[in-house]
């Protein structure tokens, strides 16, 4: 019987990584999933630091992170990084990408067709102009039903989970290629290629040239494909899933909103930052509700009860000098570069340890860049460290119980 249990609170990118890492390190893992967060809004580009600030960075993923990323079976990390076109009109660098996105880095000097179709925010001609000379608009039929003109990206993408529909699309694209006046080496599409899994590889096989999506708006199918990949990977790793919202975390114990309490040797907290919902910004306006609040408080709070303090820029927050709240313009982008609102979180050690048997991962960490790979690799570190601690604790406990009962056979 093992008591080396690690509870991971939060099933986003960081929580998933922590669960997989702890499981791989030999712990029994419970993943507490309180619903969707920032990970579902991810656009599919993998970065450690924002790409425009990443010049000269090595495009390399540490081996332990790469191994767990591979177990998700949904992401691609090419040697030397990737180049991804976005619907905002740029071709941006990335360390890696979600499987449905088209990496144009290997296509240097080739012609990439941009499919003309009536989807919101998708103007093939404008995008081709913005992305560069290698891109040409291509007339092709993507929409099969009238409602698809206005359907949300994820709904549209879900239709291509149907193999028949995907073949229909492949046929339309093959047809378009045969009618295209000149050679086309790859095809870039709006967000459309599946929700259950990325259908880009399958489409590529059927069409004969690389096909993939451009990065679109947050809330597209890429985040949903992450969720499906997570579900498969977590299940394969034998992690126990609990669908509940954690409301209180103490060392070794997590209480959830369904009245249950879970015990563990170590806890990894990966509930997200301001965007994911792990941290809440309480505005001065709502603080001003009926009267001034009874005590001065920091405008940021953790949304679950945890014995941890929030901070930013390497320091925990101090008592604010105003009962009415701190002026938001002193906290937030774009008034402040490196804004507190962006940096707020729990200050933790390099392995995520913030208190005894309590580890932090993902956007809940203070001062961490709010990127996908940062969240994932911090989850890997925290999950591994939590598992180590849990295993050590359970070993010493069984040793102690062994010493206390010498008469045991």
């Amino acid at each position: 019987m093992t008591t080396a249990t690690v509870i991971v609170v939060g099933a986003g990118v960081a929580g998933t990584a922590a669960a997989l890492a702890a499981s791989r390190a030999g712990a029994r893992v419970v993943l507490v999933d309180g619903g969707t967060g920032a990970s579902t809004l991810a656009t599919g580009a993998l970065d450690f630091v924002p790409w425009y600030a990443a010049a000269g960075q090595p495009w390399r993923v540490p081996a332990d992170v790469a191994a767990l990323l591979a177990s998700l079976d949904a992401y691609v990390v090419p040697d030397g990084g990737a180049m991804l076109p976005t619907t905002a009109g740029v071709v941006r660098a990335a360390v890696g990408h979600e499987g449905a996105l088209l990496d144009v880095r290997p296509l240097a000097g080739k012609r990439v067709a941009v499919v003309r179709c009536e989807r919101p925010g998708w103007d093939a001609d404008a995008l081709a102009r913005a992305w560069g000379e290698a891109y040409v608009p291509l007339d092709a039929t993507l929409l099969r039903q009238v409602d698809e003109r206005l359907a949300p990206d994820a709904d549209f993408a879900a239709r291509h989970d149907d193999p028949a529909r995907l073949e229909w699309l492949a046929a339309r694209l093959r047809d378009a290629l045969s009618r295209a006046g000149s050679r086309v080496d790859a095809i870039v599409l709006p967000a459309s290629l599946g929700v259950e899994r990325a259908r880009a590889a399958e489409l590529t096989r059927r069409v004969g040239v690389p096909c993939g999506e451009a990065i679109g708006l947050p809330g597209g199918p890429s985040g949903l494909r992450f969720e499906r990949a997570r579900d498969r990977a977590v299940e394969a790793a034998g992690v126990r899933r609990v669908s509940a919202r954690a409301i209180r975390v103490e060392p070794g114990r997590v209480a959830t909103d369904d009245g249950a309490a879970l015990d563990a040797a170590a806890v990894v907290l990966a509930t997200g930052g301001l965007l994911g919902g792990g941290i809440e910004y309480a505005s001065s306006e709502s603080i001003l509700a009926a009267a001034l609040p009874p005590f001065a408080r920091v405008p940021f709070q953790l949304t679950i009860e945890v014995p941890l303090a929030l901070g930013a820029h390497g320091q925990p927050f101090h008592v604010p000098g105003s009962l009415a709240g701190i002026p938001p313009e002193s906290l937030a982008w774009p008034f402040v570069r490196d804004a507190t609102m962006d940096a707020v979180g729990v200050i933790a050690a390099a392995d995520g340890r913030a208190a005894e048997r309590l580890f932090i991962a993902g956007d809940l960490l203070a001062d961490a860049p709010r990127t996908w790979l940062q969240a994932f690799s911090s989850g890997v570190r925290a999950g591994a460290a939590a598992a180590r601690e849990a295993v050590t604790a359970s070993a010493s406990r069984s040793e102690a119980s062994g010493a206390a009962s010498p008469s045991r056979p």
């Binding site: 600030a53 905002a88 941006r92 919101p120 947050p218 301001l274």
Partner: protein, 572 residues
């Protein structure tokens, strides 16, 4: 030793208008109007309709200042009822005229004024009731409903969100308008009657022409984007630059003291949706009257009035001002605290100067300054005024200029001739069905463009892909974005936002700014990177206006916007 009076040594030398040192341009107009707010565009339209040739210069965009940042009302001047009933009467009559010339752009705004229980509140209630009974006499002039006297239970039924122990209240009727569109329509009509309008064109000098031949003045300006110089010769120069008036006067060497204003900053907080069907009047902590009201598809809390001596090109609300307004309105209408503030806007009123009175006690009336005593006959400054009385003010100035300076005897026709698109209001649902638009998109399009919506939709008929929704919050279709770039002088994402309300909804432009930048770059033949730069600038400017009213939901939206900008657009 006799003491030198201190003031005389400090008094500046008498100003005088310089003589142009370059040869005067061949380009001649009757009137050069400086300022693209409602006064400037109103005068340009009025004079153009009378047959005068007009050139208008605007340093930023049309409606960039007070006109585009007002409460968005054409009110009947109820506050002047006791002091000068004739002002109320002319305001109400003019409200009727504006409804006639731009029927698509106006919407009814019923207000509730609760009266709280307090010593002598009953008497107060009677007085308010009597006051609005007198106002009722003028309501028919503007198709307004008479006021209603309501008891506390009536009020609770009409607007359950009102709290506190109340004696009762009254309702009264006003009209709302989109001030930015009003300016654009006036400018368009001026253009369609032979005028010229230069936006983003900064006047840098007003000088006397060196020769006696032809018009007296030379106005020089520079396009702020291209750097191109624009110079015209004009018989008459009208300074209609609102809070910028003293600066403009100084460009012609005119004494700034003659066009003194008391710049009054006013801010508004924008909430994400219509939180009620009525405007609700309430009192701030200092007993100033403030209000929350549904406006277009949002609610607005307004307004402050504070002396302002900062940069007029960069006026912003502060979080203190937001708190002041929210706290005041919440005392009557507490749900405003839970509402999500999606932005703020700020403008500077060009109030007529007076030393001493509190900001609220200053007159919103207008005055025309004739600069003949300053040695510049034919130069006029328009001081003060308000959105609701823009047409009368423009008429007064145009009467003066047409009669005295241009010997034009054509009478004013701005109250009878429709603004562009006002000729008839097409049926939005029919258009929606015909062009496969959503009914909401069609309705908003007709609201902004009236019959010109048909021109926008001609584009859709030619290129169906342009029915694509660019801004889902408002909503705005692509054809409209292209239309305002081609026909309404929009040159940046901000300009498009001012004309269409693109990007001013709950997502703050996250979903549309980049796309709008792409369209602009295409229409204006710019490199795509220029479109992205405009999009980033717009997003950043909007974030600045939002952040001061930040609440929990909006904070998450800010984090999402930032994440999106990081992922796909590049460094904010």
């Amino acid at each position: 030793m006799p003491e030198e009076p201190v003031s005389s040594s400090l008094r500046p030398p008498p100003a005088s208008m310089p003589v142009a040192d370059e040869p005067p341009p061949a380009d001649e107009v009757d009137v050069a109007v400086i300022g693209g707010g409602v006064n400037g565009t109103g005068v340009a339209r009025d004079l153009a309709l009378r047959g005068a040739t007009v050139a208008l210069f605007e340093r930023n965009d049309l409606a960039f200042g007070a006109s585009g940042n007002s409460s968005g009302m054409i009110h009947g001047g109820v506050r002047y009822l006791l002091s000068s009933p004739s002002v109320t009467e002319s305001s109400c009559r003019d409200s009727g005229y504006i409804q006639r010339i731009a029927p698509h752009l106006l919407f009814r705004m019923p207000f509730l004024m609760p009266v709280r229980k307090a010593p002598q509140a009953r008497l107060m209630f009677e007085l308010i009731d009597a006051y609005f009974r007198a106002y009722d006499d003028y309501q028919p002039l503007k198709r307004g409903e008479p006021h209603c006297r309501l008891d506390a239970s009536d009020l609770a039924r009409l607007e359950p969100g009102i709290v506190g122990s109340l004696v009762g209240g009254i309702s009264f009727d006003e009209w709302g308008i989109d001030g930015a569109r009003l300016c654009v329509l006036n400018a368009l009509d001026a253009i369609e009657h032979g005028g010229r309008v230069h936006v983003h064109t900064d006047v840098d000098s007003i000088a006397r022409a060196p020769d006696g031949e032809g018009p007296r003045y030379v106005v020089s300006a520079r396009d702020r984007f291209t750097g191109a110089r624009v110079r015209v010769r004009a018989h008459v120069v009208v300074n209609a630059t609102g809070a910028w008036s003293p600066i403009t006067a100084s460009l012609g060497g005119l004494p700034q003291t003659r066009v003194r204003i008391r710049p009054g900053k006013g801010i508004h907080v924008v909430l994400d949706r219509r939180i009620g069907n009525y405007g609700v009047i309430s009192e701030a902590i200092d007993r100033r009257q403030i209000f929350v009201y549904p406006w277009q598809n949002v609610s607005i809390v307004g307004t402050t009035d504070d002396d302002y001596y900062g940069d007029l090109d960069d006026v912003r609300a502060t979080s203190e001002e937001v708190r002041y307004l929210v706290q005041g309105v919440a005392s009557v209408f507490p749900s405003v605290r839970e509402a999500r503030a999606i932005g703020t806007y700020a403008g500077v009123r060009p109030t007529i100067y007076a030393y001493g009175p509190n900001e609220d006690a200053l007159s919103r009336e207008h005055a025309i300054v004739d600069h003949a005593p300053d040695g510049a006959p034919g130069v006029y400054s328009m001081i003060g005024g308000k959105l609701a009385s823009y047409r009368i003010f423009a008429q007064e100035l145009s009467d003066l200029v047409a009669g005295r300076e241009l010997q034009i005897s054509v009478p004013c026709s701005t109250h009878t001739r429709c603004l562009p698109g006002g000729e008839h209001v097409p049926d939005a649902l029919e258009l929606a069905a015909k062009h496969a638009l959503t009914p909401v998109a069609a309705r908003r399009l007709v609201f902004r463009h009236g019959s010109r919506a048909l021109r926008v939709l001609e584009r859709v008929a030619r290129r169906p892909v342009e029915r694509e929704v660019t801004c889902p919050c408002e909503p705005v279709i692509e054809a409209e974005v292209r239309h305002v770039v081609r026909e309404e002088m929009a040159r940046t994402v901000d300009d498009v936002a001012r004309r269409t309300r693109l990007g001013l909804g709950a997502c703050g432009g996250m979903r549309c700014a980049a796309r709008c930048g792409q369209i602009l770059a295409h229409e204006l033949d710019l490199v795509p990177a220029e479109g992205r730069r405009m999009a980033r600038e717009f997003l950043e400017r909007q974030a600045r206006t939002r952040v001061v009213g930040l609440g929990p939901e909006q904070a998450r939206q800010e984090a999402l916007t930032l994440a999106h900008v990081r992922a796909s657009l590049g460094e904010p």
